[in-house]
Amino acid sequence: MEVTTQEFKHCDLITVKGRVDSSTAPQFTKELEKATNNGRYKIALDMSELEYMSSAGFRALLATQRNCKRYNRGEVVLARVPDRIREALELAGFTELFRTFDDTTEAVGSL
């Protein structure tokens, strides 16, 4: 798993690549917390190169969304979610908790 963060003036674009499971989820959580600990609560997550995500990754997404949406200070939006991951997110009822975009620029612009 690899996470990179690009800071824009009004939001962060975080790209996660590879596989997020119980082994790598703690690192994923840490990377997301780096943003929120810096007061960055508007986050677009580019998932186009994400190969796999288990419920351990969903848990990290949920915790971050809760933190970001508190006091209406921000939001996590998902961009370019691969079909298989989208299906699993749907099965878990997570697609209702996140706005999703087919285009990264659109996701960043929505924040």
Binding site: D21, F58, G93
Partner: protein, 135 residues
């Protein structure tokens, strides 16, 4: 029947997913279903490591995976604390963000992704058996 013993550590989830994918691919499953099988196996193994062996060092469990006709059978055997997944309540998928519970999601996904999920606990340990028919 290929059976492999893995240390009860998250670093081995990758290998468990690969093992399941190899057998499912040879058995003619579609890539889409292979992803589902990998996810179900991952969630099952995660539960064993996290719950059955909570706080236990140097534990291990075995994973058996095989095709029986057009059906794949994934079996996991551990000697940890019994964890009856059938007793896990279904998560409320309609709950709003603040009330959403993440516990039980792994078990829920396993049930949704597989045709059957069966758990048995005895003196000989805990055995989880999951099956899925080729589409």
């Amino acid at each position: 029947m290929p059976s492999i013993t893995y240390p009860a550590r998250f670093e081995f989830l990758d290998e468990i997913r690969d093992m399941v994918a190899d057998i499912a691919r040879a058995g003619g499953f579609s890539e889409k279903t292979i992803y589902s099988l990998q996810l179900a196996a991952d969630e099952a193994a995660t539960n064993i490591i996290e719950h059955a062996y909570a706080g236990v060092k140097n534990a291990s469990f075995s994973v058996t995976c095989e095709m029986q006709g057009d059906k794949i059978i994934i079996m996991m055997h551990d000697n940890g604390k019994s964890f009856d997944s059938s007793a896990v309540k279904e998560p409320n998928l309609k709950a709003d963000l603040a009330k959403r519970q993440i516990g039980g999601l792994g078990v829920y996904l396993m049930r949704k992704l597989m045709d059957t999920v069966h758990y048995e606990s005895s003196k000989a340990g805990n055995v989880l058996t999951m099956t899925k028919r080729r589409e």
